[in-house]
Amino acid sequence: MVNVLFFVLAGLAIACAVSCVYHKNPLYSAISLIGVLLSLACIYLTLAAPFIAIVQILVYAGAIMVLVVFVIMLLNLDEDKPLTRLRYLYPIGGALGVVLLAQTLFVFYAVTKAPHQASEQGNVIGQTMSIGTAMYTEYLLPVEIVGVLLLMAIVGAMIMSRRMREPNLELVEGSKEDGE
């Protein structure tokens, strides 16, 4: 049962990922990426990690992708223009993808061959309580560092998106202000 579910969800995730890369329209890509995120959340549920699944839906599909879609709508992007001078990147990208896939699968194959101790804790590890206990006792320092990182990100985003002065487009030579 779980096996069938996993293969259905894995196929859905791969199809959505390919569609995310394939589509030229950024809005279609964003919706495909949401499909990937939701199927990964379901896979986390089958892996007995309900906390991570909920956080995945809340943070990724809820917060980050809403922000991305909002920016796409705000900038009113049109479709990608066809490649002009970077045409040689297509074969390089394909070759790199194949090499990366082979390398990753080899490493993971080697890892699965390694001996391991059986999971004795069973289904307890994914529960919110065990994660919270580990987070605030054993891994307190990383959690604090993550807090500082988020604070820095908030301050940085505010500084970055604030309009300092009137944008001086004439400094940018060859930009697109001629066309408007």
Binding site: N3, L75, D80, L86, Y90, G93, I125, I131, M160
Partner: protein, 101 residues
Amino acid sequence: MEPALGSYLALSGILFSIGAVGVIYKRNAIGMFMCIELMLNSVNLSFVAFSRHYGDVTGQLFVFVVMSVAAAEAAVGLGIIITFFRNRLSVDVDDASILKN
């Protein structure tokens, strides 16, 4: 029966490769950003699979940290994209060439 660890890791590797190829193919800054998110998610999947396999909660904590980093990256990255669009009226990464000369 439950799928083996290798199945999850294979899915993770496939998603990571698709994301890496997408970063190269896309010329849109937002498209590249979304492909990076895809790569982060594939790594999260392998973390959770290992956490389940070894019965250790550390992997899920790392997933939590990766998600926080992704959220911070989204905030700062989209800020950069909006500022870039404001200056060049485009999000094409080929237009980001002021520092070249």
